[in-house]
């Protein structure tokens, strides 16, 4: 009897170690590509990260130096315009799906459309915005690039917002209604506020995804070798610049492309961390 207990305890210990080992292994497999990419980018690009990289605009091939200041700035403009379009529309759509349209035909249609939109290849999005914005305006522009990125952000934000709102406990909604708070007010001030950490995560996911998009910008923002802060003119963007440099035959430009990739990743991580930090400062002790 005692031996059998010992044997079973031994089996349990071994099973436990095996399961833990598998979990650790999976974690390593998931994290390894990210670490590998980052290390390789640092290896290839760090040497080109001079101050001039952040302060100068590209120089003609053959000349040394030059930087991507205009592309970094351009990406910020494009993502800003994209977020101004994608975040409110996405969150608004999510609120409609979860709170006001639940079970209606319109809501089902909106949800279906969002899912399809999520699957549309980004190059198709670029062509669509080209036809809808660039052609009528008769010129490429930062604005049209922002529109393309914004539309790409909508489905992710919309569906995450919906999911997060549906996770808010029914008891919390009832508490607000029982205080005599009108339904729309309860949705905006209580339900959305309670779900806001999840909604912000959704916005960050969408932001990080479109920050690296090249295809939708080819037919819209076009790219620019010079400074531009004008929404009505073509504008440079990091992914576009990386693409152009990487395709070029010049070694100097290849190095700059590596450096640009490194900067792009670091900037995305920085932007996401900053938003997380700012939005977590107001959180109270013990808030769930």
């Amino acid at each position: 009897m005692k031996d059998e207990h010992k044997l079973r305890a031994r089996i349990r210990t071994v099973t436990d170690s095996a399961a833990t080992g598998l979990a650790v292994l999976s974690t390593i497999l998931v994290v390894a590509p990210l670490v590998a990419i980052f290390v390789y980018l640092v290896y290839k690009g760090a040497s080109s990260l001079t101050p001039s990289f952040f302060t100068q605009i590209p120089k003609p091939p053959g000349e040394d130096g030059g930087g991507m200041a205009n592309a970094i700035f351009g990406s910020a403009i494009l993502l800003g315009v994209g977020s101004l379009i994608g975040v409110p529309l996405g969150i608004g759509g999510g609120i409609f799906l979860a709170e006001f349209g639940r079970g209606t035909k319109l809501a089902n249609a909106v949800r279906f459309t969002a899912d399809v939109l999520n699957g549309v290849p980004s190059i198709v999005m670029g062509i669509a915005v080209y036809a809808l914005v660039v052609v009528p305006q008769k010129h490429f522009s930062a604005f049209s690039g922002g529109v393309a990125l914004g539309i790409m952000m909508i489905p992710t934000i919309c569906r995450t917002t919906e999911e997060m709102l549906l996770m808010v406990p029914h008891a919390v909604r009832e508490a607000a209604l029982a205080l005599g708070v009108p339904n729309w007010r309860s949705v905006l001030s209580i339900t959305v506020k309670t779900a806001s950490p999840g909604i912000i995560t959704g916005c960050m996911l969408a932001f990080a995804r479109v920050a690296g998009e090249t295809a939708p910008l080819i037919f819209t923002a076009l790219g620019n070798q010079f400074w531009s802060a004008n929404l009505n003119e073509p504008i440079a963007a990091l992914p576009l610049q990386i693409w152009v440099y990487a395709m070029s035959p010049y070694d100097e430009w290849h190095r700059l492309a590596w450096a640009g990739s490194l900067v792009l990743i670091v900037l995305i991580v920085a932007a996401v961390s900053l938003v997380r930090y700012v939005t977590s400062r107001g959180v109270l002790k013990g808030a769930s």
Binding site: E174, A178, L179, G180, V181, T194, K285, A287
Partner: protein
């Protein structure tokens, strides 16, 4: 001040389920009325008809009249207005998790557009004192989330939140069933004090609790009200055999 509640021929449905049938009763103002009965007998549905929360469920329906004070709440007034006059405390404490203790109490006022800081400060303090929570939280009002309190404290916070909008009636749906005995006795003491200012309707599974806090008790069974009388009479000499069976523990 609390006002009386007069219920006439109240019927309620969830879909095709006729969950309340021909309820008639008068609950006096500034008293506590307890509602007892086995699970699923319609007690909760009944109190939810008293502040029109029942109809927030899309498949729910209700007929009959409920007069609170001199208002017919299904004719004279909008649902959001009646819910400000008839506060409600739920079975499980449900503070707003992202709000501070202060904001939880002030929520009903703030969300209805009150912004005067001094008035809000005063009301928050008074409500927390009335719910016997003030001394435990006065130093953390704006620092801690409502969700960081213990279960018993959360329930008193929810009572303070309901009191802050200055209701005339307070509905309590098994307010102590998720709490430990110490917290329960605090809630019961509280109900005792609150009776002087509010009319209280309390649903409970705990018959000692009904006997301790309420002057009147109603016994519900299968969607009907079997008996409604003074608490003393219900527990010592009920007129209906089914009431007697229930309170002596023969079923339910």
């Amino acid at each position: 001040m609390g006002v009386g509640i007069e219920v006439t021929n109240l019927n309620a449905w969830y879909g095709t389920n006729h969950s309340l049938q021909d309820i008639n009763l008068n609950m006096p103002g500034n008293h506590a009325t307890a509602l007892i009965g086995p699970s699923g007998c319609g007690k909760s549905t009944f109190v939810r008809c008293l502040n029109r929360m029942h109809e927030t469920n899309p498949i729910a329906r209700v007929t009959g009249t409920v007069r609170i004070g001199d208002l017919d709440i299904y004719k004279d007034i909008k649902p959001v207005e009646i819910r400000r006059r008839v506060g409600m405390v739920f079975q499980r404490p449900n503070p707003f998790p992202t709000m501070s203790i202060y904001d939880n109490v002030a929520a009903g006022l703030k969300l209805n557009g009150y912004t005067n800081r001094h008035v809000l400060d005063e009301i928050v303090e008074r409500s927390l004192k009335n719910s016997a929570l003030w001394d435990e939280v006065k130093d953390d009002l704006k620092k801690k989330s409502g969700a960081s309190l213990s279960g018993g404290q959360q329930q008193r916070l929810c009572i303070a939140r309901a009191l802050a909008v200055d209701p005339e009636v307070l509905l309590m749906d098994e307010p102590a069933s998720a709490l430990d005995p110490v917290s329960t006795s605090k809630i019961e003491d509280l109900i005792f004090q609150l009776k002087s200012q509010y009319t209280i309707v309390i649903v409970t599974h705990n018959m000692q609790q009904a006997a301790r806090v309420a002057e009147k008790t109603g016994f519900f069974l299968n969607g009907r009200m079997v008996e409604f009388d003074s608490t003393h009479k219900i527990f010592t000499n009920p007129s209906d055999k089914r009431t007697e069976d229930y309170i002596t523990g023969r079923f339910g």
